[in-house]
Amino acid sequence: MAGAVGRVRAVRAVPGWLAIAVLVAAVLAPAAPAQQPRRGGTLVYISTAQPPSFDGHRETTFAMLHPVKPHYSYLVKFDTQNYPKVVGDLAESWTASRDGLTWTFKIRSGVKFHDGSTLTSRDIKATYDKIIFPKGDVVSARQAMYQSVRAVEAPDPQTVVFRLKYATPGFLEKLASPFNFVYKAEILERDPHWYERNIMGTGPFRFVEYVRGSHWVGRRFEDYYERGKPYLDGYRVLFIASRSAMLAAIKSGQALTEFRGVSPAELADILRSAGDKVAVGTSPWQCNNTVAINTKKKPFDDPRVRRALTLAIDRWGGSQALSEIAFVKPVGAMMLPGGAWAMSDAELARLAGYGRDIAQARQQARALLREAGVPEGFSFTLKNRDISMPYEAVGVYLVDQWRQIGLNVRHEQVEAGRYFADQRAGNYDLVVDFACDFIDDPDVQLLKFLSADVSPVNYGGYIDRQLDALYVRQSRTPDKAQRAALVHQFERRVLDEQAYAFYVLWWQRIIPYWKTLRGYKTTTNHYVEPDLAEYWLAE
């Protein structure tokens, strides 16, 4: 039954007759009996980009994770079958002290690196020291995430202790970052840059070959600590940047899937060609499109104007219409819709631009514009990336929404290099922005919206100490309900009272994959996938 529901959800993204056909097939199809994982075979999948380096600690892109992560283990990791539950990987068990300042992890014994040496707590300490306290010219992209950590200790070969300066909720989830590959201490001591160009882990697959621009190959590690796993003999990642070539590869079966996501139109194309050989996983996506407003420019320095802009957007109608053509759908505030920190529907409806009566909201928007002295037909530019999915669809929709309150908007799409340069230089009126991360945690999601002198990616340029104080308070509030209340207060201030920025829609992951791929479950983000130790091939 759960499978049928999943399939029903999946076909919502497919337009027209195809949706009906798939829906009927889904309802009539008997639920597949659970099967024993089969050993063998090589999983071939696609990555649409290539890893800049192989070092998880310095990179921020899925393009590094998708080919590289099967070579590594983690201290703790997200369970992709029950995301966002955190489970032990190299850690057998762990405890936190009552005050939350000391976290002690017991490490599995007998875990081997691919070179045959044995992993100890020294390797884990060296790994987290590199992530949290990088030395010299070593770059750690997530150093800021562990500001609460005072020291990492390895009192004996099977124990690792994290000592914190202050207790912080979500610490375990942050440790489980899919970027936190566990490296070998001896190698790091010799050359902290070694892992940028080389692989040596304790993960389920050994490294075989990487041809830049072409492919990446891994082979089963026979001494992997979890007996019987991985099921696959190996995996092969094909680097395919062109969407048409990627679709052709999936349609032909040369690749079984791509773990980031496709658009509804691309899904329809695949289903038309591969039919019932392909299953579809869908999930809200831990990524979104926001609009950053240049609050240093007139008239956008006036909160009334900013409120008018967000009031004019019909998010509920947009969700329905745009989800037919782009991978956007869930309506939400600053935390993942449906997630642990999301506002209730009632709370959400009280935010500017989230009500169901769009006509009334637009009347209110026009009144605010008049009050702020913005004339009918006022012109401005919405800057956007030159990427069709989903930026272009979202940009065009916004232009239309603002046209309906008498504004005249020019949609300017620019390539990535100029897009980031213009944002940084404040060379824009409004810009379609975005955020993606591996974790639905307020510390991570809200950081961007702090005052511009605190957050370098707050391109809106505003300074708001009230927000900064709220952020610190929520970050140090261990009680979940109290913390949620603070988070929602933060959201109301950003999205409603000051309307510094606003969320348009959250993304929706659509993952078509050949049914021969088993054990795969679509999660809310593309960073924790693929989890190749769990996957197997049916034939």
Partner: protein, 317 residues
Amino acid sequence: MTRYVLTRLALMVPTLVTVAVLIFILVRIVPGDIVELRLVSGGSFVTPGVIEAERQRLGLNRPLSAQFLEWMVGIFRADLGTSMWSGNPVTQEIAIRLPLSLQLAVMATLIATALAIPLGTLAALYRGRWIDHVVQVISVAGLAVPSFWLGILFILFLLGVFRYLPPLTFTPLLENPRANLEQLIWPALAVGYRYSAVTTRMTRSALLEVLREDYVRTAWAKGLARRIIVRRHALRNALLPVITVIGLEFAFLIGGLVVTEQVFNLNGIGKLVVEAISQRDYTLIQGLMLLVALAYLLVNFLVDLIYAWLDPRITYQ
């Protein structure tokens, strides 16, 4: 002749240096920052300290003159530097892709030449007749249809009718000729067809012009066989502009098959050029542009040498 060859080779050096200066300046005028593209474009939060450290590591904070000098010194030591994006030597990045691009260029040139010279000759010899019209239609269609679009049609046809897709990874010709040709024949056909269209039209017009020359008329008057007149007297001279076109097209194919390589997922120089530019990988762009410039210079040089072989009136004194 030896002096001519040496002079031409020596003249390539100032040309390449001029190209190098222009490339160095132009890539830095384009807005964008490799560090931001690498660390921020995924949507994650990265502190300014991390961004600054990365800029420093890549040497982007140093004065432009120092960066340029270092690059130029490297070039004279046959070292094109290190890719800022991947950390691999630029020569290694190019070496991975060059065999595929060269082979594709050679295959497309062979296909184009094999089609263009007979068709162009036939069209000129039967000017205004149905053969000429058919050849004109074929060549105009070739000019009108972009090779990448033809490539997409090939893929759709193969996938739709035969459920077949050419291999997606490159196998060197000597390692497995069948797998190699299976992958490259389709893009070679798509590119070769467009290439042949240009060359067919050039062959036709050049041959028509030569056929009107006095020496050809004399040959007819002497009663020489048509085959000999066309092959030995007319076509040999008509080929001079055709060789120029073939040379320019060949040099273009080394780094210019940007979209076709994307469509067939070929790991060639064209795709690498696009990646390097979109990632603002300065050192890689510089290396690639130098390679393309060098390819043009060498091909033009070879064309000039072939001129002398084809036309004994041309001397290099």
